[in-house]
Subunit: 277 residues, 2 copies
Amino acid sequence: MLQLIENRLKGLSPAESLVARWILAHPRDAANSTLAAVAAACEVSEPTVIRFCRHLGLGGFRDLTLRLTESLSQPSSFVHRDVNRDDTIQDAAAKVMDSAIQTLVSQRSLLRNVDIGKAANVLARARQIVFAGIGGSGHVSDDAQHKFFRLGIPCSALSDPPSIQQFAAIAERGDVLVLTSNSGQWPELSAAASMSRQRGASVIALTDPTSDLAAAADIPIPCGSEDETSLYTPRNSRLSQLAVLDVLQVATALELGDAAANRLRRTKMALSGDLTA
Amino acid sequence: MLQLIENRLKGLSPAESLVARWILAHPRDAANSTLAAVAAACEVSEPTVIRFCRHLGLGGFRDLTLRLTESLSQPSSFVHRDVNRDDTIQDAAAKVMDSAIQTLVSQRSLLRNVDIGKAANVLARARQIVFAGIGGSGHVSDDAQHKFFRLGIPCSALSDPPSIQQFAAIAERGDVLVLTSNSGQWPELSAAASMSRQRGASVIALTDPTSDLAAAADIPIPCGSEDETSLYTPRNSRLSQLAVLDVLQVATALELGDAAANRLRRTKMALSGDLTA
DNA sequence: CTGAAGCATGTAGCAAAACTACAAGAAAAT
DNA sequence: ATTTTCTTGTAGTTTTGCTACATGCTTCAG
């Protein structure tokens, strides 16, 4: 959470960044204060504080205090520190692993406020699922397709804008489009989301909750909106995306019940050769 | 916190113990609800809920929600428990995330005994790097190729046995073959590793350290050897593989020094449009 | 240089939420 | 049976978070 605030710092207006800096300096106080107290301490008005919360993708001030206490209580053993050129190889390795772990830990708490059941419900009834993403997110989509087809649902994965737009043009009611994007700022993806919805398909978006894409989707799922600033930091958000898609797959399997369980069992057996016997 | 409530249970009046039991049964709901909602759910009056809070030594209802989110986010050390069909969607989601985190935590300690520097050294001097894997590991290879090319090293990714064997047949000194396999038991991969080495190429294998493939490689890197037994457990080892490849990429970048740093910087700028200006 | 448009910020008011005071009823003690 | 005490709910008060609107600043076209 604090990490998230720090990353967003430069994108905020003067008054709001005042709030951000005060919270970063007194996180413990902020978590236990009232809206009025925080506004007074920052010497800004109350609505400014609320607007600050909204810019972070939170529901309001109440949400902020909850998230703050949450992140303050988390173990700090895997806090992320950037790799720099003077690190030894072993230090760098530990840092990269730590940041990966930290990413998943934050994603875990992000998911607490998401209605996974709603997404699972839609996915379970899908006529077909199309996973789509550009660049690195394309590989995430491939992975998802490779995982969901085992539930017996027709699946495909698209990773270039022309294909994605073509699909949007022929999407039908019952189709589910799952879009993955780190920033959520590619206009092509938002356009595909809008057109698909217009044609009656459902759109799930794994992306920054404040992005255009999230706004264009039926079911936005906040995902890995963290930093990615440092030169040597890998794109950890894809790990979040993969893990969230795992969550969705498991949730969908539970929703589908025995039928899905049997298919999963048979796919496992296929690999160990038990089916041929 | 939940423990504390349980201890105090018998010392409470009837109406208050109603509240206590409801909170113990629905801690997550309680943390996100309002006083009125909790009172309604327990079928008691609002002051009763407040009195309950005071009996616990808390300041009020506000305090209760804070403390609850706090203790709920204290990850139960992310120990892995299998998802089963009776889990609620939210429970299943937490379990999936926990198992993903646990996988990375163990991978982190596995890496402590691996000479990353040796692998980075080989990679940094490579004429070309070929990433190869079958099935799910194929996507991991794609991701790696998509990441390493930014260092300026010629890279490709192969994900089917025929292609992999063809590459092994023409591998040369200076080429590096990075094989990824969960079990390390596909004979095709071990054969490709042996032939590549025989022809003077280096072979790095991300796999089970006791496997045939690990034995056939120059530099084996233990990776995600955990079992993936349960029906609903995702293949977490691929998260380990991705993270380890991140580590290798960062290590290689550090080994290459300024040249790689500049290339990384330019690839970042390309995305934000700064190069065209 | 002027005026319009858009953005940032604050003021005032509102609805809800949390909390308090008090009273009614039940159980226990005299 | 009467008083006392303890438990619980009702009604009211204060606080809190939030929204609608207005003001002022910046930016940019003409």
